[in-house]
Symmetry: C2
DNA sequence: ACCTGAACACCGTTCAAGT
DNA sequence: ACCTGAACACCGTTCAAGT
């Protein structure tokens, strides 16, 4: 029972194994030839599905953004007051980032910050959902600039917390505490007061 | 006038060129053989100064932490009220991180988060100086846990801001705004009130 | 349309040998 | 102590040829 000439499933298998390899060995350890070996095909075979190594990394980044988006969406689905929403999103953001550290590097790499293409679109979808963490106030008389500043401040805190945990400078527990403190500090800040006043009781 | 057998300066030259290469091509583009070529030595020569590629990367990370430390120290040297100190440190942190993005990756890589060795020590010195952004209150009756939480929250915000700029998700100007907003939000927060009350008028 | 396999130009690492 | 240069085992990429 020899393998057929056509694998039939190669692209999916390569992506799946690539993710395992990425997690275990990091980006540097991700080898196309090793991937081909594991899939039982010749080293030239991946070329039919990914034009080069970067194309495979881009596909991983795209997939990563989609999964990340799902996680944030799930966190947003949990009902509760606005403070609880932020904590919930923060937890989801940090957890995903820490559990997929090497993947996050790919996703946020300058290379992947393309101005078009599938990765760009997946990233755009992600940030759109993340924006949903703070729904538009019912009135509509909000200051868009203040809202942006508020959101970016929280996004930066989440991202930084994730980086510090991944770099093993702080523990996961300390990271969780940072998120909680950030949610509190933001709420009680002048910036937060402006932005959140019209949202109280929304979630 | 042929080159002498002993380069005499090879280690320093390799490190210097490696930093240029790191900035221009990223970590992936940093090749020992290319480095040797530029220095006019054989490809085996670097071995006498760096046992392997990672050893050179570690040396770069160590150097990076030392320079980063200097930048933070310079920012702290500027006199002013505590709010201004935080803005100043934040600017320095973000500027260095963005201007040395590839180097920062090395410095914060899990590989470099060693429990001993020169890199670990350089990192420890850095974080000690960063701690100095918030000097011990004169009274001494402060809550150490609250201070730690306060510092980590600000550190996470700086780090996250830098990452978002490097990933080209936000502009440098937006990043600067985040730092300013963070300084304000922290100050007016309950956490900030507890921690900073005994420090007002210190700087 | 998908895969093979040789070929090419790169790597990092090792190590005996030279100065 | 420092450097050379051959050797080895890996890469990614290209491309004619096979099915």
């Amino acid at each position: 029972m020899r393998r057929p000439f056509h694998h039939g499933n190669l692209r999916a298998v390569l992506l799946e194994q690539a993710e395992v390899m990425l997690r275990d060995q990091g980006v540097d350890g991700l080898s196309l030839r090793e991937l081909a070996r594991q899939a039982g095909v010749s080293h030239g075979a991946p070329r039919s599905h990914f034009i080069d190594r970067q194309a495979l990394l881009d596909a991983l980044a795209e997939q990563g953004f989609d999964r990340f988006t799902d996680q944030i969406r799930a966190a947003l689905a949990i009902p509760g007051p606005i403070r609880e929403r932020f904590r919930s999103v923060g937890r989801a953001y940090v957890d995903f980032s820490v559990d997929n550290a090497a993947l996050m590097e790919l996703m946020f790499a300058a290379k992947s910050s393309q101005s078009s293409g599938p990765v760009h679109n997946a990233a755009a979808r992600f940030f759109a959902v993340l924006d949903g963490a703070m729904p538009d106030p019912p009135g509509g008389d909000h200051d868009d600039d203040l809202r942006t500043r508020f959101k970016l401040l929280f996004a930066a805190t989440m991202q930084g917390t994730a980086t510090l945990i991944t770099a093993q400078r702080i523990t996961r527990e300390q990271g969780q505490r940072i998120i909680d403190d950030a949610a509190d500090a933001l709420r009680s800040s002048e910036l937060g007061a402006h932005v959140l006043s019209s949202l109280e009781g929304t979630g």
